[in-house]
Symmetry: C2
Subunit: 438 residues, 2 copies
């Protein structure tokens, strides 16, 4: 501990997460000072409306409305951004870095869209930009990818990284609810936002996957590179049928590297019951990383909430403070992603994906229908693994077919589905869910 | 990348793990150079017998028998110690640190017995001592404790950190084997050493727990502080009875902090089936860390083997190399454990532990026996949760009693057991296993 001058912290935002960070900073100053090498002093917090009622009761620091008082003040060493959303957060982070401030952010959207550029900017200004809180809440996963697993060539990532959807899927699976009902309940309980689009459409998970894949594969994956499909089409019966086949249904964020090709995607999958990820229930997150050396390691914990997120942010803050106190000349760049790209990885489209499928169809209950569907699939090079007829409805003259396939190319399946969907004996293609092998 | 001079690596030991490290270093030099900021050059390996046949086929580096050629050679920047055992490993590490070399070690015994002293020595000589590989093989857990979780006050650690015993326990549970049979099989398959003492007596797990607890609680826990009990007394029927009661049996390393008291211990426990740790099977490891902010996070993966261990070692090597290339003036001390101790934690003895118990007794099959045992337990302040009579043997006139208790103090249970053991109606106290609550 070469110095005992306090390290100044400036907060951008004082919502749920910001209050959690402030509370934690204020509640154990001595322990944090010992670990950081100097006292951590919370200088001020930027808010839109200083008069708004807030959960934080003791608040021995001023609220300000002028961003410059956080971003460019000489007594601030580390700016903590917990505003969320792309702007003004991204602009503020840029300003802070240009002013020579270290930045800690929980912002997956900003990191997914602008991460490599911001990391380069941090590097240029000899400061750190840390973002452990942007993925997996209180689960350390950015740090392990940036440091501990650096000896590995990462082969794949499979992750449950959206707690809201995992909570909804768990309710659907355990209580036989349909999506709309489970969503309504999650909203009532505060587990889902009034506008749930970002969560249920897989957009939030896609942001986080972009952040993880960029680090893991030493390449640049941005938000728009990640095809994503949400959970809104899932019905209670899909969970029932999946269970009968030995599968759970989870919203997975998947990145796989194969022979110079990288595939990234977010969508619901059927996952064998016995896998660790299939057992991750409720609001928990889990990130499974496979490396050429380490094999498969899995990180499990709470992926959201004020305290878990504060854990990640404080970890970053303390580590930056240690570096400041240790007199680092040039901070270690946070990741190879802001240096030269290691690999000429090609980003593969979903159409090229090869996977097994689960297909649920509402069909006319008449002999020959299955033969017709099997023929169409066969013509597209897709072979059937199993077929079960479910829930015949004599009044409507319809039946439900559940089909699982052997691995087939996504593009072919989509073509086959278009043909099947146009057939007069098929009333509706209810669902197409990809199946993950063990 | 401020320099492109190669970073010199010297290996101490070229056994299974050492060969794994060498192979990994040699197999992807370009990727590692990019991540490290400079090429990593394996200068030489210290071995006892250079003529011994080795798995490593290509070996573009010399084997030496003089330790000084690794420990004190000017072309070595980082010494990697993979000899295992206390000596000569510990003495070599000291010499290397004194010679200004950074050290990466996989040695849990050395770190458990001498860690704080060696870390202080490293600090004094402005070099790093890293030991990610000493616990959990390829699972990042030292790094997360040293850095990512630093904002937390750690409340508890519960860990399956010995793959050999977890493999044996899994076989016993799934195939109804007794300990001796399962051990013999594990030895045949190479999962257990010819002399299995360190593993099956819980000594290896105790070393690892000492390392984890020292970091997590910012205090000094050495190997001799950790009471440990092995798995040799477990029988197939314990697993059967445990399952009937809803429990798995695992060898857990546990550290808990409560009101200024720290309890550390390694022993078999009954663990509710539905917990994540109960589902960790075979040679896998899992470390569950509970922090005041992050809640419970769990790290799961392969805890041993050449490649997972090489993953951890290379991670440490690459990070030291980055620090060298980044021109760090003074390396961040690896942990607060080598600075002042944060907390005046008192190490509590096993006797003070309060826990539930599972008790298996062989008793005379006669009315009144249970009443007698219940009376003795009651006199010692221990209340019974459930009793099941098992496997009466009319020929021998004996029966088996399985008793579970409500939480009770360990010291009282030990006293009660001594009384019970002396009773003429009790033929044998077969087993006493502690029960972990969810």
């Amino acid at each position: 501990m070469s110095t005992q001058r306090a390290i100044g912290i400036g907060l951008l935002g004082l919502g749920v997460v910001g209050s959690g960070v402030a509370e934690s900073l204020l509640s154990k100053p001595d322990a944090l000072a010992l670990r950081a090498g100097a006292p951590l002093a919370l200088r001020r917090a930027l808010v839109r409306d200083p008069k708004k009622a807030r959960a934080l009761t003791t608040r021995p620091f001023p609220l300000v409305t002028d961003p410059a008082q956080v971003l460019e003040s000489p007594d601030v060493d580390i700016v903590v951004e917990v505003l969320g959303g792309e702007e003004p957060a991204c602009g503020y982070i840029e300003r802070a870095l240009r002013a020579g401030k270290h930045v800690v952010t929980a912002n997956k959207e900003v990191m997914a869209k602008h991460g490599p550029r911001l990391l380069a900017l941090a590097n240029e200004h000899n400061v750190q930009l840390r973002f452990e809180a942007s993925v997996g809440g209180g689960i350390p996963v950015i740090g392990p990818l940036q440091r501990d697993l650096l000896g590995n060539d990462i082969v794949s990532i499979r992750a449950i990284i959206n707690g809201t959807t995992n909570y909804i899927l768990t309710e659907m699976a355990q209580k036989g609810m349909d999506f709309a009902v489970a969503l309504g309940q999650a909203q009532q309980l505060g587990y889902a936002e009034p506008d749930p689009t970002n969560d249920v459409q897989g957009i939030d998970a896609a942001y986080k996957l972009a952040v993880l894949a960029t680090l893991a594969f030493h390449t640049r994956v941005t938000a728009s590179d990640v095809p994503h499909e949400g959970i809104t089409r899932l019905r209670a019966k899909d969970f029932r049928y999946a269970r009968e086949l030995g599968y759970a249904i989870k919203l997975l964020a998947i990145a796989t590297k194969e022979q110079g090709n990288l595939t990234v995607r977010v969508h619901p999958v059927l996952l064998p019951m016995e896998t660790l990820l299939a057992k991750v229930d409720g609001a928990f997150n889990a990130i499974e990383i496979k490396g050429d050396l380490t094999g498969t390691v899995t990180f499990h914990g709470l992926g959201a909430g004020a305290r878990p997120t504060a854990s990640a942010i404080l970890g970053d803050v303390v580590n930056i403070a240690r570096a400041i106190c240790g007199g680092e000349q040039k901070p270690m760049t946070a990741s190879a992603a802001d240096g030269p790209e290691e690999q000429g990885l090609r980003l593969r489209s979903m159409a090229e994906l090869s996977t097994q499928f689960y297909l649920r169809l509402n069909v006319v209950d008449r002999p020959g229908v299955l033969a017709l569907i099997a023929t169409v699939l066969g013509e597209h090079g897709i072979s059937i693994a199993a077929v079960v007829q479910k829930d015949a409805d004599p009044a409507a003259g319809s039946a439900e077919l559940v089909i699982t396939t052997h691995p087939a190319q996504e593009a072919r399946m989509q073509k086959a589905l278009a043909v099947i969907g146009r057939s007069s004996v098929v009333r509706e293609v209810n669902n197409l869910i990809r199946v993950e092998a063990v």
